[in-house]
Amino acid sequence: MIEKILIANRGEIAIRVIKACKTYGLKSVAVYSDEDVNSRHTKMASEAYHIGAAPPSESYLNMEKIIEVALSSGADAIHPGYGFLSENPDFADLCEKKKLNFIGPNGKSLRLCGDKMLCKDAMIKAKVPTVPGSPGIVEEVEKALDIAHQIGYPVLLKSVFGGGGRGIRLVNNEKELREAFEMASGESKAAFGKSALLVEKFLPKIRHIEYQLFRDKHGNAVHAFERECSIQRRHQKLIEMSPSPAVDQKTRDEIGQLVIKAAHAVDYTNAGTAEFLRLDDGTFYFIEINARLQVEHPVTELVTGLDLVKLQIDIANGKEIPFKQQDLKLKGCAIECRINAEDTFLDFAPSTGPVPDVNIPSGPGVRVDTYLYPGCTVSPYYDSLMAKLVTWGETFEESRQKMQMALSDFYIEGVETSIPLYKTILDSKEFINGDLSTDFLERFKILDRLRDDIKKEVLNKTDAALAAVIIHSEFLKSRVKPHIGSSVRWKSQLDKT
């Protein structure tokens, strides 16, 4: 049985896991880089060890060093959090070799989940619907044309070697496909010595909906319903919620059954997430499995009452999942806003530096997972997620209202944040109506509305700001010369405080 867990991570997720350890009587071992000597996770854990310089490659990605600390500190398990080494099959293998209990899937399963083509293949075999397209690499243009004809235009032509948006071409007809195929094929050969192209259906307006899943080492699998994560910027999630306004109970159960199949198909163990795209016509396509605890896991915790980290530890201990699918109920509605240190108007560029003052909201139905404290620093070396603000209400509307209240109470001094953006989104009729899609920000010109909202808010606060400024100005004058009657009083005001 696990008694001491090393957390191979930092920030809010390290704190989340350390708190679980404290709650359930387990010892926790933190690791920290030069940059994180004064971070909360370093201070909260039972023990903390320095593992290297600020760049992740020299610390939080340094497998050997982390394993060394785990062994020397007497930890018997490693929780990888998300990001960093969490989905690295070699790290999972290394843990196994050193007899450290890796709290996540085994290396083989991680490899399968990490290779999109292998994973898609496994899903097709398990009859889990995936985005229509070529089952693997297409070498001949005629084959590409056949597939495009089957699935219908427009289609995407993707180079296996291009990452993210690179190497993706949108084609609308046969002629465009022929031209694009030739060009892409040539580019790929020039760059990599070989060509590897995929054809996939182009989906213009989609929702991102994912399912929380668990599978234990005895092969029992359950899902904990969906999260809708359609509100995104630059392909990264901003707002997540459960339930999805687009999923009814029948769909919830049907897709849930696919999720169980998917978990079995990759011999998954521990907590994971099956991601889907949903079209406006209600079609769901599996896209991938995130083989780790997700940033947005609190959303699921609030609507199910489960403690996902506890469940992860139980599963890692070899226990069976202590409930059946039918025991789980989705209750109320939870919304999460990712509070990022970024400048919305500078194309979401990171905003880093010292945070002299913070006010963290609280109240019934409000949960905040964060590493912030007054006097902390937002580091440029790591991701921009400072806090997760999550609210729960009996209904979507109650949850939304609590989120608005909490957002207006959240104050982070010194860095730009995504808080004003969320106020505008949460206030929009489109969000209230659940008309979500991954292009929500562009589709509804949210940034223009945000500009207007900020102006309105400044106008609302103008009187108070003017009052503060004239008091300041009078006080300054009184320092120059006691020429107004109130000057002595100003002085004593200051001395008192």
Binding site: E413, H472, L476, K477
Partner: protein, 170 residues
Amino acid sequence: MEFKIENLGNTFDAEIVQSLGNSEYVIKIQEKERNLKILNMTSNKIEFMLDNSYHVAKYLDSSTAKMTVVVDGLQITFDKHSELDKLVYKNSGAESVGDSQISLRSQIPGRVVSINANVGDKVKKGDVLCVLESMKMQISIKSHKDGLINSIKIKQGASVAKNDVMMEIE
């Protein structure tokens, strides 16, 4: 006084009308009288009630031309905040005493942000000789007369008290 909010462009009028004692004041904003009661005040933060509503404002670093406050968590920048440097200039002897006074004294306690002149420099009345910071405000200190800088008594980063001699100009 007149204020302009940077990202709005609007201009606002605000002034103190009367002190009621007990940290309470009548102020006028856009022609409307309001009651202001100070609860707590430090050099960079003020808590007050404006007509029975609580507000907290933090003063960020400012110049005499701009003033940034964070009021109830919202950052607002004003242009042309006050006539403070004019007042400092006036009190320095520029109007009353004239050329006979050698010492340029600090009219305000503060920290020396920068010194813009050297010993031996020829300066004209009104030239900015140094910048002081007081209560998060930057204030330009101008020469009170034409003349030659004889000595400089201040150092960058050091504090000066009110009435300290900063330079001697002959």
